[in-house]
């Protein structure tokens, strides 16, 4: 029986707790959050112990696995502290806010011999997994031009840490990084990136980035990340064109279930349509299962710490390009 301690009991923490708890040999034994009420609420749901101080959770002997879903700047310290105590770590993306932090977290996990997996969940979304499989099977021939879109309203959360780019890294480091990881998975190492973004300079609660990446294999990729759309917006797109074909995905077109509800009480008010794309297995469940399989087998997970480092590095390179107005070549010095 594995005991999971959840650090960071907001939306993602609660989500991961549910997926861990669904596994027969895993139970949630502890929860920590600087907002004690949030920790208590999660703890109560699973009969777990609530902590205010994550360090106390890390000293809890019943915790074998730490699931981290705190604001990004706290990731590295927690991964390091957990690893030093021999706990395996599942941590939300991005790996860290800086490359130096990322390096130290990876080294700590490696030295301790614990499993470390970062939540680059997009690889577990079946449409992206299938796109990768088809690409590898040659469905577009030699890939040439790729485009990704990930558009959302600005996320709001306790403390609004998302709105502080020093903490979140803005739309590139926090959200577009999903697509950066996917593109690295598809095409290998990036050579250089040129990016323009509103991070650090746009209007309040608005971020938007357009990045052009040249991969070492010569693929040219265009990445769009938006926190400039109205609240409630979320859609993604993927296109890969090659010398003998093209694959194309728009999440708005994959809405197999749509429900139009009339507004109750006011016949004239516009109703609400809620599209759904249900799956037998949630990608978030699949990623937790992969983490546990890797842990049990003593192997590296399919998303390695180095993969997470590369995604962060590309996001930070894009952010640097947007601030300096020049293309940035990879790898970056830590």
């Amino acid at each position: 029986m594995y005991g999971v301690g959840v650090i960071g009991c907001g939306g993602m923490g609660r989500s991961h707790a549910g997926y861990f708890a669904a596994l027969p040999d895993v139970q949630i034994v502890a929860a920590a959050d600087t907002n004690l009420a949030a920790a208590q609420s999660l703890a109560e749901k699973y009969g777990a112990r609530a902590y205010h101080d994550p360090r106390k959770l890390l000293d809890d002997a019943r915790v074998n696995i730490v699931a981290i879903a705190t604001p990004t700047p706290q990731h590295a310290d927690l991964i390091e502290a957990a690893a030093k105590r021999g706990k395996h770590v599942f941590c939300e993306k991005p790996l860290a806010r800086t490359l130096a932090d990322a390096r130290r977290a990876i080294e700590a996990a490696s030295a301790a011999g614990v499993t470390l997996m970062i939540g680059h969940v997009l690889r577990f979304f079946p449409e992206y997994a299938m796109a990768k499989r088809l690409l590898d099977e040659g469905c577009v021939g030699r890939p040439a031009v790729a485009r990704t879109t990930r558009n959302s309203g600005h996320p709001r959360t306790a403390g609004d840490w998302f709105a502080d780019p020093d903490q979140s890294g803005g739309v590139l480091v926090d959200m577009a990084i999903h697509d950066l990881d996917f593109l690295l998975w598809c095409f290998g190492a990036a050579e250089r990136v040129y990016c323009k973004a509103l991070t650090y300079r746009g209007p309040e609660l608005t971020d938007y980035a357009l990045a052009t990446i040249r991969f070492r294999n010569r693929v040219i990729a265009h990445v769009e990340g938006s926190w400039a759309h109205p609240p409630g917006t979320f859609f993604t797109k993927l296109e890969i064109a090659g010398d003998s074909g093209l694959l194309d995905y728009d999440s708005r077109a994959a809405a197999p279930l749509q429900v139009w509800r009339k507004a109750q009480g006011d016949e004239r008010a516009p109703g609400v349509v809620v599209p759904e794309s249900p799956l037998a297995e949630s990608p978030y469940q699949l990623e937790v299962c992969e983490f546990m399989d890797a842990l049990r087998a003593g192997r590296a997970p399919c998303v390695t710490p180095q993969d997470a480092y590369s995604a962060l590095e590309l996001a930070l390179a894009a952010l640097e390009s947007s601030r300096r107005g020049v293309p940035v070549t990879l790898p970056l010095a830590a």
């Binding site: 323009k196 357009l210 265009h222």
Partner: protein, 327 residues
């Protein structure tokens, strides 16, 4: 009645322009001249007009439409301007900036109208986006993103001596013109990735441009010849404007039916939207007939060409290039 001659059928759009002229009550396709005589005679028969020598045709018309290879735009346009005839020139205005300036100067000196064929300005969904931008409802502009992808057209398009460049030249200019028109701003700097990755041709076939406008807006543009043969249509023109108060996106050719035809063994998209070329030609004819300015000028053509040329230099030198460096 405006008498018009079409000069060279090297560009496939000439056929559409000919059909438009034949459908307009105040236009007369008086003749076709072409340095490929067989092609010219074939087209004259198809469009029920005469094949003529350049000088004969130019002498007899009020206006010409130049649809030659990019590198030959100047050699067709200059004599027409010198003869006092108005010129509608296919995009890009020319294969290089020097030729573009010659064409503009010649028309200016002769006091004739010079229009550039950017038909996307006449697509109704595009015009709605323009009206929305003009209204201020989107708030101050922040960023823009455009695409004009297509199939590799083959022939002279991929031969640098005739085209001046491949996909980047062919497909930057339409969307760049729309961006300038909507944002009411000029590009100051370009960074581009350009390559030949998909076709066995001489010229570039793909790329992505990154542009900074003089009002602070940043934009990207994908001009690639990246639609495979099995793609259901020739390509696309899309433009998204991100403003402080909202985002608007147009798919200019999005009004289409999906057609599955076993006889052709293919899926295709059948566009039923309004005829942009007809809008363009009708407007140009009206401008000539009523002696009023035509909105899409040689300068618009030159500005768009400059961005494509800056993109090529940027890609070669792997650095952002200021438009001012080209002047």
């Amino acid at each position: 009645m405006v008498n018009v001659g079409i000069l060279s059928f090297a560009h496939m759009h000439a056929g559409s322009y000919a059909a438009c002229l034949n459908s307009l009550p105040n236009a007369n396709l008086l003749g076709i001249a072409d340095d490929d005589e067989a092609r010219g005679k074939d087209m004259a028969a198809r469009f029920e007009t005469q094949f003529m020598s350049r000088d004969d045709l130019v002498a007899r018309v009020d206006a010409v439409i130049v649809t030659a290879e990019n590198a030959k735009h100047a050699e067709w346009a200059l004599p027409a301007a010198a003869a006092g005839k108005h010129v509608l020139c296919e995009k890009p205005i020319a294969a290089d900036i020097a030729d573009a300036r010659r064409i503009i100067a010649a028309c200016d000196d002769a006091g004739v109208k010079l229009g550039i064929a950017f038909p996307c300005r006449y697509i109704p969904p595009v015009r709605r986006l323009k009206a929305l931008c003009d209204s201020g409802d989107l708030g101050p502009f922040l960023a823009a993103k455009g695409t004009n992808r297509g199939r590799m057209p083959g022939g002279w398009f991929a031969v640098k001596a005739l085209s001046g460049g491949g996909a980047v030249l062919d497909h930057t200019v339409h969307v760049l013109d729309l961006m300038r028109w909507m944002l009411k701003a000029e590009v100051v700097e370009v960074y581009a990735e350009v390559d030949r990755l998909m076709h066995d041709i001489e010229s570039d076939d793909c790329g992505t441009l990154n542009m900074t406008f003089d009002n602070g807006v940043f934009a990207t543009l994908d001009p690639s010849w990246s639609r495979p043969k099995t793609y259901p249509t020739w390509g696309d023109v899309t433009l998204q404007i991100v403003g402080a108060k909202g985002v608007a996106a147009v798919d200019a050719f999005g009004q289409k039916l999906d057609v599955y035809d076993d006889r052709r063994g293919a899926t295709s998209w059948s566009y039923w939207g309004s005829n942009a070329d007809l809008g363009l030609i009708a407007d140009f004819i009206d401008a000539v007939e009523n002696d009023r300015p035509f909105d899409i000028t040689g300068s618009d053509g030159l500005r768009a060409l400059e961005v494509a040329m800056a993109a090529y230099r940027s890609a070669d030198e792997k650095r952002p290039v200021k438009i001012a460096e080209l002047r």
